[in-house]
Symmetry: C2
Subunit: 202 residues, 2 copies
């Protein structure tokens, strides 16, 4: 087994945090996105879409998509559960994971892709859309602050993959000036809690 990782990108960090929470160590190789390594033919043979992370299984299967890789490890090492414990809980965790992905992470990365110099010349940027993303990401942080008023973690009483996605989104948000506001006390309390876990350093 071999994990193709990229230290600077947000999606691979989701897998690294997930693995750290599980206590799983996987042999890892770094893919230098800035130098274009993920667009080279040898890498595209592993993932034709050119994204990291990619997990190479021992049978030669290549698994891309961070959440799909997390699902593989959740199935092969269920403890501690990070994706739910029964039908209702698994569905609720998936709901919150998707909300963190589609309602927070997506807007942060959409802002980065459409406004940041890193992507200039790599993709067709639309700065006006990047601004819509930035505003929406800030709105979603305010919404999440209200949600966290009633519970310790994003999906309930337990730390889950939804917290992983939200943490990575909040940390990556700094790059595009999307930050927790001082008055968002529930969100700040949650952020301090999840950031102080050893897995956050992954």
């Amino acid at each position: 087994m071999l994990l193709y990782d990229s230290k600077l990108a947000p999606n691979p960090r989701r897998v690294r945090i997930f693995l750290a929470e599980k206590g799983i160590v996987v042999p890892t190789v770094q893919v230098d996105i800035a130098r274009g390594e993920s667009r080279e033919p040898s890498f595209l043979a592993r993932n034709p879409l050119g994204g990291t992370p990619v997990l190479e299984l021992d049978d030669g299967t290549h698994l891309a998509e961070s959440v799909a890789i997390c699902r593989y490890f959740e199935e092969t090492q269920p403890e501690p559960p990070l994706m739910g414990t029964d039908a209702r809980d698994r569905a609720l965790v998936e709901m919150w994971q998707r909300r963190m992905e589609l309602e927070l992470f997506r807007w942060v990365t959409g802002c980065f892709q459409n406004t940041h110099a890193f992507f200039a010349g790599r993709i067709e940027q639309v700065p006006a859309y990047g601004e819509v993303c930035r505003k929406t990401a800030r709105d979603r942080l305010a919404w999440l602050d209200g949600e966290l008023a009633g519970r310790p973690f994003v999906a309930g009483e337990r730390y889950t993959i939804a917290d992983v996605t939200a943490l990575v989104a909040v940390d990556f948000g700094r790059v595009v000036d999307v930050r927790i506001a001082p008055e968002q006390k529930h969100l700040m309390r949650w952020y301090e809690a999840v950031s102080s876990r050893p897995s956050a350093k992954a």
Copy 2:
């Protein structure tokens, strides 16, 4: 149990097709998005993000996000499996489901949201970004055609939730002039196969 459904929107259709494939019948109420019913306080109490579908469980829990609702039914009625059969297969299905969602469905809906009259005045539209979405969606259909050269369904030998998402994306794509090209013969063969299943009428 009660499913809040919207006949005209693509996300609820994903759940309806999934349920039809499982042979599950759920009491359903229609939410009229065009008339703004999903933005009324009574509906926002069920899903503060205002999206459909929402599944109300008998204990009063509200489950939003179409894939999370599908996950609930996959767990409670595993046959026929639509989200994988073992750790590796579940991860591969999730990879393809996410690819269909993030690499196809997202671009189609992004084009619709940023160019279509339905969203004028409802959200801040950026037409130039809508055009990027349209072009990317067409590129992704060409990529998917190549992928389908080697297997009958999106995730392999078996019909899965990845086919549901792809079918809904392709059908919704017509609204924004994203269509399978005549030379995309593998994609067309797949489309004809999944469209002729009874579930496609859901």
